[in-house]
Structures are given as C-alpha cells and as structure tokens.
C-alpha cells in the first residue's frame, strides 16, 4: 500500500480576516480589508472585472503573496508566514504553467517527486489521475504537443495528484474556446463534487461563476461587494454596482428623484414608490433589515436621488401606451436577434435600456412603452445600497 491510500481527504476551511494587500510601498491598494469564510468542501467563486484584486486575493491564500495587513487562517491555524507548500494548496494557473521540458507524466508526478514520494507510488498515482481525467494516452507527450483542453487537464491533474487541502484556480478556462469551456466547466464541477476539496475559483466570467459556485464573492476595486449563492446574487443584488455587473445583459438602472411616494424618471415617466416597496417586501420575506430601511425611505419621504432597477427579462414592450401600471417611455435604438430571444436596445433619457423579448414586434426608431411589475423592480438609494 502506498502512502497515498492512507491520507484521507484532509479538508480545510479557509478564512480571511481584514486582509489588505498594498504594492509599490503602499501606492497601490490591491485588496482592502477582505473578510471571507470558505467552508470545508465548498466551491467558492471570486467574480469581478479585471483588476478588481481577485487574483491577488487568490495569491494571498496560496501564499505566493504575503498580506500587508490582516490574517489568513486554514482551519484554526494562522498561515500568514507559511510557504505555499506548507499550506498544502494546489493551484491551476491561467496559462497552465506546465513545465515545458517535462512529459505529461513527469509534469503530473512533479509535486510527488519533489516531496520524495518513491517512484512506484508516484507512477501508480499518476496513472490513476490520468485515467480520471482521460489523458492516459498523452502521458509521454510534452505539453507543447497538446491542445488547450488537454493542457488544461494536465494542469488539473498536477494540482489534484497530491490531494491538496485547498484547490485554487486562477481563470483556468479563459484560454479555451467557448465549446471546450462549457465541457470543462461541467467536468470541473463533477471533479470537485467527487473529490470534495475546498475550492476557490477566480474568474471574470459570470456564467462560469453562476454555474459552478456554491457561493459567489463579487469583488470590485479590491474589496468585496457581496457574498451570496448564485441565485440570491441574481435575485437580490446588494448594491447598484452588483446589479449592473450580474446578468447578461445586466440590470437596467433608472436614475430618478423621489417625490412624496413616487419616483420621477424625467421625460420617461413616473413610478409609484409604494408599489415597488410593498411588492419587494412581499417577495423577499427573510430580509427584515431591508424592510426596515425601506420603511425609513418611505417615512423619510423628502426629495432625494434613487435608482430603480429592472432586469431586461422583466421588461415588457408595447407600441401603444398601456392604461395603467409602471410605464417607461423610450425610442428603439437597435434590435439584436439572438435566436432564443430578441434583445431590444431602447433609448430612454439618453440611456440605453436592454429588454429581452420573445417576439419581434417593434422596429428601429419606433416610440415604445416599457412596462414592468412592481415585484420585479429594485430600488437603490443614492449610496447604491439596496433599499427595496
């Protein structure tokens, strides 16, 4: 029996406490006061635009960077000063970082070799992993002779071969074409379910994030915007920024001013505030705090700037003015036939609004009316925080 059969999956939870990272002697703030808890076996995805600090956060967890401030814990142990190998993390890099001078088998066996695992155990383990990832035919090739998808599999194999306690992936699928990305997404998810390793996955692709994650961490400008399961993230974006980031196309936000119980959206029309507030209270039953703040917005009914958010799929389109309900007026700018739906871009107050519709009923430059249910509207205050 090799030593590997003895090692069980020693899972680890990961947490970050007020972790900040500065570069260039403090001139660049890469991460500011990150607080994050990743449970044993959880699949956590860090999602954000380029330069939002998600990769730096991952490298801090990996031990490739040292935090400038704060503490990182694996389980109960503070690991700030531990080397990557002591942390027993495995990482898959965006460009795979396969060793070009070694064969596939040698690449996968490398982590075992440098740890002094005897060659027989090593070979057996490599064989197991290559079978699991369907690359057993490639073991004698050099990475240069492999396709992108195969390289990706080798990189995954090298990462999981030594059964790490934390599995880190930095945009692992971004160099693959769309079809392959879809396949690898499913395979990664399956692999993670089977191995049950705590996984932290960094991506800028929200489709990847939503489809694979147990929990999504949305980051912007070096800090965390929201931590939520995918469905909740979509249903209840905590800030206007998240609302605009999640969804494809993202949520439409209408800037307006509050006038005693209604929101004035300029030329486009007026929306009754009561309806929006009441409706959302009914939909989000658990959000007691938000109810309180919504109530305070209602009570404090002086004038102020707010934003009303409606997802493109919740907007209905008609060429004639409806008699009642929430109505926003605009002109059709462009129409994008996408096959499964038709995306209509409507110009409202010099702002482009996206609406997803199933029937092609309007034409360019036509005057149209957008309607939506109270249930589907979100209200953000002038700080960008969700209030109702």
């Amino acid at each position: 029996m090799g030593s590997f059969d003895v090692i069980s999956h020693c899972m680890t939870s990961v947490s970050m406490k007020d972790v900040s990272k500065y570069f260039d002697g403090g001139n660049t703030v890469a991460n500011y006061r990150l607080n994050l808890d990743v449970a044993d076996g959880e699949f956590l995805v860090m999602l954000g635009p380029s330069g939002c600090g998600k990769t730096t956060a991952l490298r801090l967890i990996a031990g490739l960077e040292q935090p400038s401030d704060g503490a990182i814990y694996f389980g109960d142990e503070r690991v700030n000063s531990r080397s990557p190998s002591d942390r027993n993390v495995a990482m898959v890099f965006q460009n795979y970082a396969l060793y070009p001078h070694l064969t596939v088998a040698e690449n996968i066996g490398y982590p075992l070799k440098v740890r002094g695992i005897p060659p027989d155990d090593r070979d057996r383990k490599v064989e197991e992993i290559t079978e699991l990832l369907h690359i057993e035919d490639q073991v004698d090739k050099k990475p240069g002779a492999l396709s992108g998808g195969q390289r990706q599999r080798v990189a995954l194999a090298r990462a999981i071969v030594r059964e790490p306690s934390v599995f880190l992936l930095d945009e692992p699928l971004s160099n693959l074409d769309a079809k392959l990305r879809q396949e690898m997404r499913i395979e990664l998810k399956r692999l993670q379910n089977e191995l049950d390793i705590t996984t932290i996955y960094v991506t800028h692709n929200q489709e990847e994030a939503m489809s694979m994650a147990d929990t999504v961490v949305v980051m912007n400008q070096g800090t965390i915007q929201q931590i939520a399961p995918p469905q909740e993230l979509y249903k209840r974006p905590r800030t206007a920024w998240v609302a605009r980031f999640i969804g494809s196309p993202p949520m439409n936000l209408f800037q307006g001013t509050r006038h005693n119980g209604s929101i004035d959206l300029g030329e486009a029309g007026t929306v009754e505030l009561d309806g929006v507030m009441d409706a959302d209270e009914a939909v989000v039953e658990t959000a007691n705090q938000d109810d309180a703040s919504a109530a305070s917005v209602l009570a404090n009914s002086a004038q102020g700037d707010v934003a009303v958010g409606i997802r493109p799929e919740d907007l209905a389109l008609s060429a004639t003015q409806p008699s009642s309900g929430n109505v926003i007026e605009g002109t059709v700018d462009t129409i994008e036939p996408m096959g499964e739906y038709i995306l209509v871009n409507i110009s409202v107050n010099d702002q482009i609004v996206n609406a997803k519709v199933s029937e092609w009923t309007v034409s360019t430059d036509e005057r149209v009316y957008l309607t939506f249910d109270d249930d589907d509207a979100y209200l953000y205050d002038d700080n960008g925080e969700l209030v109702g």
Binding site: A62, G63, L64, S83, P84, S85, V89, A90, M91, F93, N95, A97, L98, Y99, P100, H101, Y110, P111, V114, R115, R158, R162
Partner: protein, 325 residues
C-alpha cells in the same frame, strides 16, 4: 461533384439530399482537398514565377558578393594547407596541375619547435575548465539578478556592465602583477582564472536576459508543488536554460580558444604555449613555411567550427531567446 439541377427547388427540402436542394451552393466536407489544388501552369509560366525581379536579383548579387569576399581568405588558407609549398608560392588560385597532400598537416602536427599536437592539447586544458566554470557560475549569478530583490541589485548590475566596457589591455598590467604575487603567473590555473573573470560579465548579462524570459508562473507553480528554491533551480531553471547555456558555451569556447592576447601576456614557457601562440613559431628559418602555418591554422580553427556545427540548433534558439526581450 454536385449535380447542378434546379437551383431553387425548395420542394426537395424534405428529401434530405442537401447537395440537390441548395443547388450546389454548399460543399460537403469530403470535397475539400487535403492539399491545395495544383494550378495548371505552362512551363513558361513556371519559369517566369521562379525568375526573381530585377530589384530582388540586385539584392542577390550584393549578398553573394559579400559572402564571397568573406570566404575567399578561408579558401586560400585551405588551398595552401593541402598543397606543396612550391605550388602555392605563385598564388593559390593557380589550380592547374594541383597536387593534394596532407604532408603539411603531418609536419604541423609533429613540428619540432611548436608541435600542434601539444599546442592543441594545451588549449583544451585551458578552454574546457574556463567554459564549464563560467557556465555554472554565470547561471548561478544571473538567476538572482533575474528573479530576486536584494540590496544594491541595480548598482551591482551596473558595475558588471561598466567593467565589461573596459578593454583587456587596460587591466592586463594589474592582472599580471596579481598573478605574479599569487604565484599563478605562467600557469594554466592563472590563465583559466583570468578567462573566467573576463567571461563572467557578459555571461551574467546574457543569461539574466534569457532567464527573464522564463515565465514566473513556472516557478510559482513549482513553489506550490512543494519544490524548494534549490529544487526549482535544478529541476526547472537549469533544464529550461539549456539553449542559453549552449550559446554561452559556444561563444565562450570560441573566445577562449582563439584568445591570443591573454596567453601572450600570461604564459611565458614555450612548452606551455597555446595554439594561437604556437602558430607564429612555425615560420621556419630559411623561408616562411606557408603550408605548415596554413595547416596549423586550419587545425586550430577547426575545433570551434566543429563545436558550432554540432550545437548550432541549440545555439540559435538560445541566442534568439536571450536577445529577443
């Protein structure tokens, strides 16, 4: 081929015969040839395609002229080495009645005052350690310059560049005195050390540039895989540096092998002379033995040329990668 019947017959749609229904507008995958179809050209057209334009032809003429100018002295030397002295005294280019002989090589090899057999052996004794040590020390010094942050890094690197700019003649006196004092004057050890010292500068610069081109991710991946700094250097950096190290070996070998000035200054005893020093001693007493000198020269220059030809593949890769960034 696709039959071209009824271009717009929508009625065929359900039959599933695509080739017919689309009226030959689409090709099936099987129809795509493996290689580009050979064009049907007449032989006149083919010749016209091959003959270069005037402009291009002019460039060829210039290039070929320069190449000839470059190689003519070598051809002369080679001709002198394989013919008796009497035949080359009037000019090696008279080729009528040419006799080919290896007598010159034999005489040079066993020359009474400066035998090439000894001189070449001496040159190997100096060159091989001077190359190997420079490679090892060079890559060990270049790696920190390429990857680590340490105090005075820029200053030290600048200093290396500065010293490289100094001509060897300028510091020969200092080196001479130092070797005398350490008792290394007129020894191979002294000469080898001088060559190592002079070689290290450019080797560190060259290898640093090459190492900068190795992706950092590879080292980070290795760190995460659990490799120590030393393991990373030995199992990742060194193997990946092979092309650059081969380039260094070839250039340094040629430089040390052909060096004339350093042996001239630091080697005094004739029995220790290296090949470039031994060549002038073959002149002869009564008349200049051109054939023997030519044979000795060919033997001397053959060694770096053969090395270059053997390692050319790696050498080119290393040069391109080190100079590219």
């Amino acid at each position: 081929m696709v039959e071209d019947n009824a271009p717009d017959s929508r009625t065929d749609r359900d039959a599933g015969t695509e080739a017919k229904s689309d009226g030959g507008r689409y090709l099936s995958v099987e129809e795509i040839p493996e290689t580009a179809p050979t064009a049907d050209l007449t032989w006149q057209e083919r010749i016209a395609n091959v003959v270069p334009s005037k402009r291009r032809g002019l460039k060829y003429v210039v290039a070929i002229t320069i190449a000839l100018l470059w190689i003519v002295p070598f051809i002369g030397l080679f001709m002198a080495s394989i013919r008796p002295l009497s035949e080359i005294i009037g000019g090696w280019w008279h080729i009528e009645g040419m006799t080919i002989t290896f007598e010159n090589y034999y005489q040079a090899w066993n020359h009474s005052t400066a035998p090439m057999s000894v001189a070449l052996r001496n040159t190997f004794i100096v060159t091989i350690p001077a190359v190997l040590v420079v490679m090892l020390l060079g890559v060990m010094a270049a790696y920190p310059f390429a990857r680590f942050e340490f105090p005075l890094k820029t200053t030290l690197f600048f200093l290396i560049l500065l010293i490289m700019a100094a001509p060897p003649e300028l510091v020969a006196m200092g080196n001479y005195n130092a070797l005398q004092r350490f008792g290394l004057f007129d020894t191979y050890m002294g000469l080898i050390l001088i060559h190592i010292g002079w070689g290290l500068g450019w080797v560190v610069l060259f290898l640093r540039n090459y190492l900068l081109g190795i992706p950092k991710e590879l080292e980070e991946a290795a760190r995460i895989d659990g490799a120590s700094r030393y393991q990373i250097f030995r199992t990742i950096i060194l193997p990946l540096s092979t092309p650059a190290l081969v380039s260094v070996a070839v250039i340094q070998f040629t430089w040390v092998w052909n060096a004339f000035f350093f042996p001239l200054v630091f080697m005094r005893s004739p029995e220790l002379y290296l090949a470039p020093q031994a060549l002038p001693l073959m002149r002869g007493r009564v008349q200049v033995e051109w054939g023997i000198i030519a044979a000795g020269s060919i033997m001397t220059m053959a060694v770096p040329v053969i090395l270059f030809l053997l390692l050319e593949r790696y050498y080119k890769r290393g040069m391109v990668a080190a100079v590219a960034d």
